[in-house]
Symmetry: C2
């Protein structure tokens, strides 16, 4: 079965790909808005991991609504969640199985059982989240033995996730200070290959 796995070049989505590869024909899918070319980092990581890659473009409206919400909230959670759900919907239009890298203790994005079942019923797909039953410690230990990663602050480690483009859009709309307000600085990691 053809599985489209939302992919950011991060640890969680990369490890998810390894967990699923024996069971589905996995394509790594990066959703973006055409704002920056950061999706190419995800494409390169997908190649390094040995998976087919697809870029899906989400509508500008999704990005505008998400950044409005982030600016209003002063933090990114609800905006990221909305973008993630829009990306899952887009993947569900093309694949038999839709997957993502959400972890047991992720706070965002988080796909409830109800949202999962709704996605499955409306699109006639399976939604699978192979890391949903793994905590951070278990993921870190598996990443250490199976993947090669780089890490650093958000500005220097460019991934192919929504955050990079949403940061750029917020900067365009309201300036660099608005980005710092919405996104607290945190360490990012990018997967560069298998161990």
């Amino acid at each position: 079965m053809e599985c489209g796995l939302l992919f950011s070049a991060g640890k969680d989505s990369s490890l998810s790909a390894l967990l699923l590869e024996e069971f589905y024909d996995v394509t790594l899918v990066t959703a973006n808005f055409g704002i920056t070319d950061d999706w190419t980092h995800a494409r390169d990581a997908a190649r390094a991991l040995g998976f087919p890659f697809e870029r899906i473009e989400l509508s500008e409206e999704v990005a505008m609504k998400a950044t409005d919400r982030m600016r209003e909230d002063g933090f990114p959670r609800a905006g990221i969640q909305a973008v993630h759900e829009a990306a899952l919907e887009a993947v569900a239009d093309e694949y038999d199985v839709v997957a993502d890298g959400t972890r047991r203790d992720d706070r965002v994005p988080t796909i409830s059982r109800a949202v999962a079942q709704s996605l499955e019923d409306r699109h006639g797909v399976d939604y699978v989240a192979p890391l949903s039953g793994f905590g951070r410690g278990a993921v870190d230990r598996l990443v250490e033995t199976h993947l090669t990663v780089e890490s650093g602050p958000s500005e220097s480690i460019k991934k192919g996730d929504y955050e990079t483009e949403l940061r750029a859009l917020i900067e365009t709309r309201w300036g660099a200070d608005a980005v710092a307000e919405v996104f607290p600085e945190h360490e990012q990691t990018r997967v560069v290959g298998r161990s």
Copy 2:
């Protein structure tokens, strides 16, 4: 890392074993009470799947308390949950990684994030539930392509799960009618090998 996966010879725990085998040294573990020899069905299934097997004996007190609770409730849920948690604790004493086959839409047993983290913190282990992000449809489709199963009513398909022994104990303590009261009849499946 040494992973002890709670195993009943059912579809969920068998598929979990296949999902984990590339990442851990998996031993299939059946917890029982020494009431019947139904654990041998789990041992045979483990052999057919090509995994090492271990039987862990839980205390009689766990079985007595669980059956008291089931008889009182008139349904098995809370008793099964208590036995499952006791089994996880026992596995956590012996392995680096504790796993089970709980599925996204299981109602029992179900391991909350809090219970998972408590198990991990108290025993210094990882708890992983590889099917926790898979719904019934996705599991059934993967089972179809990866496993060979037999199915039939509960009395005829003997697995190595707690239910078989708890049914026997309830029958001994309160008679056959009590078993029928607590356990509504349902279709069981047993895995007999890989496809």
